[in-house]
């Protein structure tokens, strides 16, 4: 049941402000930072769904992002497919890829799942580095050179797309966690065996969450590649994408709804707002990640939840408005 509360009002107001920013003529640089924030937010939310709520520590999301990006590039490059078809098709391709791979992947448990998914990135990278759909020597198509992605969209429309995807990922998380699927995932996380005896189909719950996360991760990837206008294997399947998701979720607070929001903001700030130290930002993030896991495993939100003020604020925000 949907209940209006201060949280939603806050979300709507913030979204409106974000939507108005380009209209009031904000700088390109700030807009770019916000664009990245929304892409990272969607990625982080989906990784949180996997690792934080479904017990699937997938390290292979970059592979699915790359598949979505490549599909988009192919459709635009070879077939001039209109965007409103190409984007859903790209996400569907990534999801289908994940669905097929879920057969071997779900046979791998725990560590093995993590390693198997991590391996996917490398497999894809090596493959796309080699693969040239039109074997013309010297042609800058495919292989290590990658593809151009020409959408004809203005940067501002791409910003709006990112805004929509980012906000949608927040709403999606709220929706999933409140749904039957969310209840099942929660039960599995608390006690897998007990959940199984209660008749919860563990495999199906995890699979759905894996596929949903992949679809949305693919969507975020499409938005990013529309902006970048180009895709090549080393960047597409790079673990820097993984770093973004992991760090945003863990620094912000894994298994919390607010964590990825705070975490994405921190990751964007560290990687974009300190251009002087840009080359050190992965290092700083890595250190931060290690320290947080070692000393404050619940992340920033986990720490804040221990304070009375923050809890009072949460309570106020989530009170239904009648």
């Amino acid at each position: 049941m949907f209940r209006l509360n201060a949280e939603y009002i806050l979300l709507v107001i913030l979204t409106l402000i974000m939507a108005l920013l380009p209209v009031v003529g904000i700088g390109w640089y700030t807009l770019h930072v916000l664009f990245l924030f929304f892409v990272y937010l969607a990625l982080a939310n989906m990784w949180n769904l996997l690792a934080g709520y479904s017990g699937l520590v997938s390290l292979g999301q970059p592979a699915f992002m790359g598949i979505a990006g490549y599909t988009l590039a192919m459709l635009l490059w070879f077939f001039d497919t209109p965007l409103y078809i190409a984007i859903p098709a790209a996400c569907a391709a990534a999801t289908a890829f994940a669905a097929v791979l879920s057969i071997p992947l779900f046979r791998m448990r725990g560590f093995y799942f993590s390693i198997g998914t991590l391996l996917l990135n490398e497999i894809c990278r090596v493959w796309f580095n080699w693969w040239r759909p039109i074997p013309v020597p010297g042609a800058p198509v495919g292989g290590g050179a990658g593809f151009g992605i020409r959408s004809g969209l203005s940067p501002i429309s791409i910003y709006y797309l990112a805004l929509a995807v980012g906000i949608a990922s927040i709403i999606l998380m709220r929706f999933i966690l409140g749904s039957k699927l969310g209840a099942g995932l929660m039960a599995i996380r608390d006690n897998e065996r007990a959940a199984a005896t209660c008749g919860i189909d563990i495999f199906r719950c995890k699979l759905y969450s894996f596929l949903i996360a992949t679809f949305f991760t693919g969507l975020a990837a499409c938005v990013f590649y529309l902006f970048q206008g180009h895709i090549e294997p080393t960047g597409a399947f790079s673990i820097s994408w993984l770093n973004v998701m992991l760090m945003a979720v863990i620094i912000g607070g894994i298994s919390t709804e607010e964590g990825p929001i705070v975490g994405s903001a921190i990751v964007v700030l560290l990687s974009q707002l300190l251009p002087r130290y840009a080359e050190y930002s992965p290092l700083i993030l890595g250190v931060l990640l290690t320290l947080i896991i070692t000393f404050t495993p619940p992340g920033i939100i986990g720490m804040m939840r221990k304070t009375r003020l923050y809890n009072a604020m949460l309570k106020y925000l989530s009170k239904p408005i009648t």
């Binding site: 071997p104 993590s114 390693i115 090596v126 992991l246 080359e279 050190y280 290092l283």
Partner: protein, 286 residues
């Protein structure tokens, strides 16, 4: 068709891969932890060798006297101060912390040594050795010898020393081991120290054999994991065979399909093994 060369190099290379696998297998066997920083530890050996070569003109093989103890201390401290803490919270935090460490190391390498490929070049690393009518790079032969030395060393360490005894006790029954006066955290730290020592040893020889860059951290992680997955855990023979299988699959793939798909085939082999028999060909199902 001349298959001699890919087969012999595959086998020799496989020996070195087995050494990478040894360290990962040891850590997994003792702590049930997949160390995602293992590849970064391998490359640690390569880069430290490079630094010593550039700074002091020290021969990389001689430099092992410095590299291995440094690696041991680094491993000991990482386990003692970081991983042990995360480990108390569960296996996922421990896994993620090793990922964090691998990111830190890979970025440090990049800052210090640039993202470009480097290699350890010495006069013997480019020499050839003739076996009958064929010529094999001398360094591949050295790699294979190192594999045997490393396996004997680890065997001796585990079976003939107090350190090894304490590790085996801790694996079998941590509570009983504590009652012997063994500190489990110390054992874990020693284990990562030993694992890192072997990783850095392999790293030096890999550096002499192939060019490396910060991203090699991940390539070697997968190779190490592949060796363990193919060979099964806890069996040194299995690890050795796992290394050979992987080495051969790469050199033969390069021979038949070209260099571009060489690692691809290796990775696919690992992925399939993971899906059908994660306990390895020789492993027993838990």
């Amino acid at each position: 068709m001349n298959l001699f060369s890919p087969i012999i190099t595959g086998i020799f290379l496989g020996g070195l891969y087995a050494v990478i696998g040894l360290g990962l297998s040891l850590v997994f066997g003792v702590m049930k932890l997949v160390n995602l920083a293992h590849g970064a530890f391998v490359v640690f050996g390569s880069y430290l060798g490079l630094a010593l070569l550039i700074a002091f003109g020290l021969d990389p093989i001689l430099a092992l006297i410095l590299i291995v103890p440094t690696a041991f201390i680094l491993g000991y401290c990482i386990q003692k101060f970081l991983v042990n803490r995360a480990y108390q919270l569960g296996t996922e935090p421990a896994l993620l912390i090793t990922y964090g460490i691998s990111i830190i190391l890979a970025n440090l390498y990049q800052q210090i040594f640039s993202p470009y490929f480097k290699s350890l070049v010495t006069d013997y690393s480019v020499k050839g050795l003739s076996i009958g009518p064929y010529s094999v790079p001398l360094i591949y032969v050295l790699d294979f010898i190192v594999c045997f030395i490393a396996m004997l060393l680890l065997h001796w360490l585990l079976n003939k020393t107090y350190i090894g005894l304490s590790i085996r006790c801790a694996v079998q029954d941590p509570v009983a081991a504590k009652l012997m006066g063994i500190s489990i955290e110390h054992v874990y730290a020693l284990t990562l120290g030993i694992s890192l020592s072997f990783a850095s040893l392999a790293g030096v020889f890999l550096g002499l054999t192939f060019p490396f860059n910060p991203v090699s951290s991940f390539t070697y992680l997968f190779i190490a994991f592949g060796v363990v997955v193919i060979g099964g855990l806890g069996s040194m023979t299995g690890t050795f065979i796992g290394g050979i299988v992987l080495g051969l699959s790469q050199t033969l793939a390069a021979y038949f399909l070209g260099i571009g798909l060489q690692t691809f085939v290796g990775f696919i082999v690992i992925f399939i093994m993971l899906a059908i028999r994660p306990q390895g060909i020789f492993g027993v199902k838990e």
